[in-house]
Each structure stands twice: as C-alpha cells, then as structure tokens.
C-alpha cells in the first residue's frame, strides 16, 4: 500500500492462478480474478482496475476460455480491465500462466491490518456458503506438478460466482468505511485454515467449525477448515458492533455466522459441536513455519549464433502479424475497460491511465513479464521485467512509485530452478535499487512443471505510477511533430529477441547498464509531461515500436534510420520514442546516461516504406 498524497492511498497486488487454469481455464481464470479482488477489498480498498497476464501455447480454445473467465468475473463485478500482457509460447502449452493484478484506492488514514487485535472480539464469516469445492486446491493444484491424470483434479478447481463477489466487495468496503470491523481477511488458498492462522498469529482464535454455513450435507470438520469455496471473507468484530455489521451483510443478502472468538492463548483451536478437533500454536503456521534452503546450480546458456533477418520491410510485416506481437484488441475488447469512469487512456500502448477523480491527478498501471531472456540469464530477466514495467508507466506520463511481482517458476527442488529463482529475485532487487522504487507486494507460483519439464523462469511485474495531470497524458503523435529516439547505454542485441526466436536460435549473453536504464525511465516520465507521444521499444525492437506508435496515432512518419537489422530489430538495450511539436525540441538535457537524437518527422501515410493500411492489416489481422 502506498501513499499518493492528498489523503489518498493505493493498494495493489498480482497473484497467480496457473494450475487451476491449466485444468479448467474458465473457472481457473475467473476465480483468479475473484481472489485478487477480495485481497484488495480486505485491505479496505475499493478495486478500481484489473490487469491480467496470460501466457499460453497458442491462441486456441483453451486460451479463449481463460479470456472468457477473466472477462466474466471482471465485467460482472464492475471493475475495469485495463491491460496486462498476452504471450504465446510453446513453453506454456501444457502449463499456462494466469496472473491477475488488482489496484484499489482508499483514504490514506484507513489502513486495515489482517490481524486480530483484542481478545474477546468475534470472528464473523460472511459471503457464500462452504462446500467441498476446491478442497485441497492449494496443495493439489498449486504445489504439485501436473501430469496425465489432470482430469481427476477437476473437482479440486474452485467455482466462482461474481455476483456474490460483487456484493462481498460492497459489504467489505462499507464495513471498513464505517469503521465497523477491526480487521478483514479473505478466504483464499487453504480456506479458513489459512485466513484464521494469519489473523490468530499474535493472539489466538477459537473457531467453531459446526457454525460455518454449509452448502453440503455431512461435511467433516477438516473439510470445512480447508474448503476453498469462493466469495467468503472473515472479519474480526467487537461484540458491540455485531448488530451493525450483521445489518450491512443482510442488506446485501449474503450468508453470515459468528464462527468463533479471539483469545489470548496464541493457539488456533477448532471445535465441532463443542468437541476439540484440532489445535496448534498459530505462529507455527505463519512466521515460524519451516524454512528450506534450496540447492542452486547455475547453468551456462547456449552461445549466440548469427541471426539473419529477411529484408527490413518483410521482417517488419512478419513480426507485426505474428501471434507474439500482433494487436491484442481481439482480447481486450472482451473486457469492460470503462466502468467507474476513470479510464483516460485505454489499454493498447504501454500503460493505461486512470483518473483519480475528482482530482486531475491519475495513476498509470501496467503488468509485464519476461521469459525467453530468463532462459539465457534469469538475473537479467528479473532486471528487464522491472525496467520494462517502469518504462511503460513512464511513457504514459507516470512516475513509477511501486511494483508488485508474481514469480512463476518450475519445481524449486530442482537445483537449476532454485538458481533461476534466486537469480531473478536478485536481478529485480538490483533494478529496483537503480530506480529507487520499492516492491510492495507479490506472490510466488512454483512447481509449474508438466511431465517433468519446467516452464522458463517467468518473473511478471506490475507497476503503478503517479500521473501529475491526466489532461497532459500523451494521446498520439501529430503531423509535423519531431520524432526523437532516447537510448540507454545498454547495447542492442539479438540475444533473447523476437528476431532471434524467429530467424535464429536462442543464445547469447545480453547485458544491461542499470544506472543508464534508470535515467532513461526518468527521462521518459519527464518528457511525457509535454510530449504528444512517448513509447518504448520492447519485443520486436525499434521498427515494431515505431509501427505501433504510427498505428496508435493513425499517422505515418518520415524516418532517417540506418537500414541495419540490429538497429531496427535489436532488443534489451532501453529505447524510447518521443514525439514533440518541432518547436519544443531542446538540446539533450539528460547528460551522459541517455543519448537523445532526432530520427524523423511525423507525416504521410507510410512508415519505413510500408503504407499504414498494410501495417494495420498485418497488425490487426482477422479476429
């Protein structure tokens, strides 16, 4: 949670729902969205934006059903979906990734802790009833490799009900707004067992499991304790506020029950019809849980071989039309991007911008990951995941203020994966230090293995930036604007690039100059305050970025660039395109860390010799 000034704070977090989505993509993705929404609501924040990171083998039916699931939940609860990333790569064919991020706003003074705070307070469960769905979901699905018998695990997938989810959010926000609860905790993975142990850590909780409203007959106490039935929340309530709390829950017609009370024993104790069925010191489940040191074994990446690209025009057309780089509108139009009337900049380029109405300030939000680079150098992938998220927010006019991360990795008991994980975290930490921006929340998804094969190390990073004035957010380059290119000192390379994936073979040792990359992010954020467009080069390099800028703005450009494959399609080294009215171009104000030079002028209806209509055709394709 971060202070935005003016009495406002922002809460944001990304979480994975990979294994359930691999087994049942619609419900897996839907409940992933539901879970992250409840996490944010439990902090007392009103959710204002969703983003999702989807990585699949190809744009097939499995993928489409996950998109349906994301849209179904988000559209129904009335929270706009404003971006994220969609990656198609054979490496995710049997272990897809579904990462969901939520951003919420709350008054700065209202910070709710997920801990019980006084003995004698009541534990109130509200929302949906509890059934056998999702029993063992966390242990069966989140922490085991998938194999041929996936279908048997289907009953373990939780089922979402966004209508109840919406009412749960409304109740939770109202309870916090009116100061009626001491704390809130959502029931996520491992159900009551997990939420109660977090709340009981410093005090103790006696829970009467027989009082939990159940939707099935004959449930065992342990089933009630670990059921992952969705749309449930636990509140700690002072006895004298109980009547008011119940009235709020009843107004929204949700189930509720007082299921226990806070004690001073430090023990999480469960009873069933008065008989003790389990007891454990709560801290053993949280702060004092066993820790493991994983074995780490570095590996050497393959060395770089020559990448020979086709002639520039053909290469650009092919890249734009590829599933990897083509327009994502065929997905984002299936999400409500507009509800809540904050969306100043819709998804499609770098980062979306939401207005903090009634103020003119706003936030820029994005979610980006790395994977191919992770195969070559997981530390560098961690760095670039952070840098790219920051750069996207900066290009939309935001100053990055915080990150959230989701670490999607294989089985960490394999020493190679242990090493990847450690390296990626170290890389992210180094990049954060270079930017002076913290990571405020996160989630880890391990055991992303199918039939013994791990996914590539995939750090996914969400970033929130503060936009000083949404009326100045860059909207698109205009006829006659000067086009500048700002570059970091990090070298351009084909290692890990889209061009190498297409026309070469994966290998090489790319590198980053973090000080220079940090300066480039700050330059982009600064120049975006008076530029007509700022856009960074990412997958596909400078040529693809220029084409994206031209299509976003519906105007071509006259460019003076070397016809050199590395200049046009090289990646990794940070590059930012800036368009400004010609009169505004100042001499390079950035010092030695960033090189800025003019590369052309906006005008005409072609780019790099290709008519815009033809580029649009390649990029938009058919739905």
């Amino acid at each position: 949670m971060l202070d935005l000034g003016e009495g406002l704070a922002v809460a944001f977090k990304v979480e994975s729902h990979n294994h359930p989505s691999a087994v049942e993509p619609f419900q897996g993705a839907a409940t992933g969205v539901g879970g992250i929404l409840r996490d944010i609501a439990a902090m007392g924040a009103r959710p204002v934006a969703l983003l999702d990171g989807l990585r699949f083998g190809e744009p097939d039916d499995h993928f489409s059903r996950a998109v349906d699931g994301v849209g179904h939940y988000g559209n129904c609860v009335g929270v706009p979906n404003v971006g994220g990333e969609i990656v198609f790569d054979e490496d995710y064919a049997s272990n897809c990734l579904v990462n969901a991020m939520c951003v919420g706003l709350l008054p700065a003074e209202r910070v709710v802790r997920a801990k019980a705070t006084a003995a004698g307070a009541l534990v109130v469960l509200y929302g949906a009833t509890t059934g056998r769905d999702g029993i063992g979901g966390a242990s069966v699905l989140a922490s085991a490799e998938l194999g041929d018998d996936d279908a048997d695990k289907r009953p373990s997938v939780q089922v979402g009900d966004p209508f109840t989810g919406k009412r749960l959010i409304e109740v939770s926000v109202e309870l916090v707004e009116r100061g009626l609860v001491r704390s809130l905790q959502d029931c996520g993975a491992a159900g009551l067992a997990s939420s109660l142990s977090e709340m009981a850590a410093d005090y103790g909780i006696d829970v009467r499991l027989d009082r939990v409203p159940q939707r099935e007959e004959g449930m065992e106490p342990w089933e009630v304790m670990i059921s992952e039935s969705q749309e449930r929340m636990v509140a700690i309530v002072e006895p004298e506020r109980l009547g008011e709390v119940e009235a709020v829950i009843d107004r929204w017609e949700l189930h509720r029950a007082v299921i226990g009370e806070v004690t001073a024993t430090g023990i999480l104790r469960a009873t069933w019809n008065g008989e003790e069925v389990g007891a454990i010191p709560a801290r053993l489940l949280t702060g004092e849980c066993p820790r493991y040191a994983v074995a780490r074994e570095p590996r050497t990446p393959p060395s770089e071989t020559t990448t020979t690209t086709p002639p520039a025009r053909q290469a650009l057309r092919e890249l734009l039309a590829s599933p990897a780089l083509r327009s994502r509108a065929f997905v984002t139009r299936r999400y409500d991007q507009l509800v809540q009337s904050r969306t100043v900049r819709r998804p499609g380029l770098d980062a979306a911008v939401l207005r903090l109405r009634p103020e003119w300030r706003g936030i820029a939000v994005t979610l980006d990951g790395q994977s191919r680079l992770g195969v070559l150098d997981p530390r560098l992938a961690g760095q670039l995941a952070i840098l790219e998220a920051a750069r996207n927010v900066a290009c939309a006019g935001g100053e990055p203020i915080g990150f959230t991360d989701c670490l999607n990795f294989g089985n960490p008991e394999k020493p190679e994966v242990g090493w990847e994980l450690a390296e990626a975290i170290e890389g992210m930490a180094l990049a954060c230090e270079a930017l002076g921006v913290p990571v405020v929340s996160g989630n880890v998804s391990l055991y992303n293995d199918t039939d013994g094969r791990s996914i590539p190390p995939t750090p996914v990073v969400g970033c929130v930036g503060l936009v000083p004035d949404v009326r100045r957010v860059p909207r698109g380059w205009r006829e006659g604007d000067a086009i500048l290119l700002a570059r970091s000192r990090s070298p351009l390379t084909f290692a890990g690039s889209e061009a190498q994936a297409r026309w070469g073979s994966l290998g090489g040792s790319p590198s980053l100059d973090l000080a220079s990359e940090g300066a480039l992010v700050r330059y982009a954020s600064r120049v975006a305050q008076h530029a007509s467009l700022v856009h960074d080069a990412a997958e596909g390099g400078l040529a693809v970025a220029l084409a994206e800028a031209a299509l976003w703005s519906a105007a071509g450009a006259e460019l003076d660039l070397e016809d050199d494959a590395l200049t046009l399609f090289g990646e990794v080294g940070g590059q930012v395109i800036v368009a400004l009215p010609s009169g505004d171009v100042e001499p390079d104000p950035t010092g030695a860390d960033v090189e800025v030079r003019r590369i052309g002028t906006v005008g005409g209806d072609a780019l790099l010799g290709i008519p815009l209509a033809e580029l649009a055709c390649a990029y938009e394709g058919e739905a």
Binding site: D68, G71, N75, C76, V77, G78, D161, P162, F163, T164, K166, R167, W252, E253, T332, R333, R334, Y335, D336, Q337, L338, V339, Q340, S341, R342, T343, V344, R346, R355, R357, V470, R471
Partner: protein
C-alpha cells in the same frame, strides 16, 4: 434566482455497475441525482426522471433483467412511466425494461457470442422522444457499447409496426452484435421510455473518450425539468 436542478433517480439493483457513472454524468449535465435502492417501493413525488443503469443485476442469473423486473422498486417505475415520466434504461436497464414488458423485444447473446467493449457510431432515427427531441434524424453519435447480450430481436410484424411508429430510435451505423435491423435503442409507443445498449453515461467527458452521450442525457434532463415545471414543483 438559481437554476432549478431537476431530480433524477438512478436505481441500484444488487449487481448494478454503472450506477455511479450515471450519477456522475447526470450531475455534470446539471441534474440532482437521487440514488434509489432496488428494495424501495415508493419514489419521491418530485422526481423528474428515472435511470435504470447498466451492470449485471442479480448476476444476470436466469436471464438478463429477468429477476430485476420483479424487484420491489419496479412497481413505482411502472407507475412513473404510465404517468408519462421519462425513463431511460441503459444496457442492463434496457434488458430489464424489455423483460418488464415496458419496451418491445428481447436481447439475446451477441452474434459473436462474446462480450464486446468498443466505441460505436449510432444513427438517430427518430426525434419523437424527449431524449432525442433536440436531435435531427440522420445525426450520428459516437458512444461506447460494452455488453455480451445486446442482440435485440422481435417478430417481423411487430418490428414493422415499431419502425412505422418511430419507436426505433437509434440504429448502429454498422452491424455490431447481430441486432435485428441494427437496432441500438427502442422507445415505447408514447416515447417517454427509452432503452438502449450503448452507454451515453460513458460518453460525456472528452477526457475519457467520445461525447455522443451528451445530447441524449441532456434530453432526459430537459424532460425532467419540464415535468417538474409542469407539476409546479420548484
């Protein structure tokens, strides 16, 4: 003398999502918004208009709008409409008005069988409603849609009658969701009840996108104003 701000009710059902957006848009256009909870059975006497907003009332279970049509507040909405008061149903609100029999036709799943969020161009077909009185037939408005079930249909005979009587008020310039005759919005015979799939409340602020919703909502505010002036409420 300060200008009269007509009072317009925005009804919130459990699952309504665009109720806040409707309030913001109407306030921007000079109305005073009265939030009304679905369980209410009586409306204030000095209401000038009613909006049924977008969203997923009651989770759209059974069928879109099928549960909301029997919500406690709907009796008062019917009475207000029968008395000639302007009622605007947006998206889910349109679906509710159709289910309630206040508007003709039904809304089925989009032809693409997918939810669709996009700015679309709609053409004004009739100026015979208070919402479109200040517009000229043929005029084009750009307004976003965002729905999964906006594919309006009715039987051919009734459709012909509706066209004849000017009850087809808005058409999409191009087919977007499979709607019969590209119908985007229809009115009742008297013209005081209008339902439409596009979201005018999301098209009032140039900072957020197109502004084609302004004249339609201004029409509602003007009609509400007139109703109150006529009733001598000020």
């Amino acid at each position: 003398m300060t200008e009269l701000r007509p009072r317009i009710a925005v009804i919130t059902f459990p699952g309504s999502n665009d109720d806040v957006d409707a309030r913001l848009a109407l306030e921007q256009l000079g109305a005073e918004v009265v939030p009304v909870w679905h369980a209410t059975t009586e409306l204030a006497a000095d209401l000038g208009g009613i909006v049924l907003p977008g969203g997923f009332s009651y989770g759209d279970y059974l069928r879109c709008g099928a549960i909301a049509r029997v919500a406690p507040v709907m009796g008062a909405v019917r009475a207000f409409a029968a008395d000639g008061g302007p009622v605007l149903g947006i998206c889910n609100g349109f679906q509710i008005l159709c289910e309630a029999g206040l508007l003709p036709g039904v809304l089925r799943a989009n032809r693409q069988l997918e939810f669709l969020c996009a700015d679309v161009t709609v053409v004004v077909e009739s100026d015979g409603t208070p919402f479109t009185a200040a517009l000229t037939p043929g005029e084009e408005l750009v307004i976003p849609i965002k729905h999964g079930e906006g594919n309006w249909v009715t039987d051919p005979a009734l459709h012909a009658e509706l066209v004849e009587r000017g009850q087809v008020v808005l058409r999409y310039a191009e087919d977007v969701n499979g709607s019969l005759d590209r119908v985007a919005g229809v009115a009742n015979e008297e013209g005081n009840v209008l339902g439409l799939m596009p979201h005018p409340e999301h098209a009032v602020d140039p900072l957020l996108g197109p502004t084609g919703g302004v004249p339609l909502l201004q029409g509602l505010v003007a009609a509400a104003h007139e109703r109150l002036a006529g009733a001598g409420v000020a």
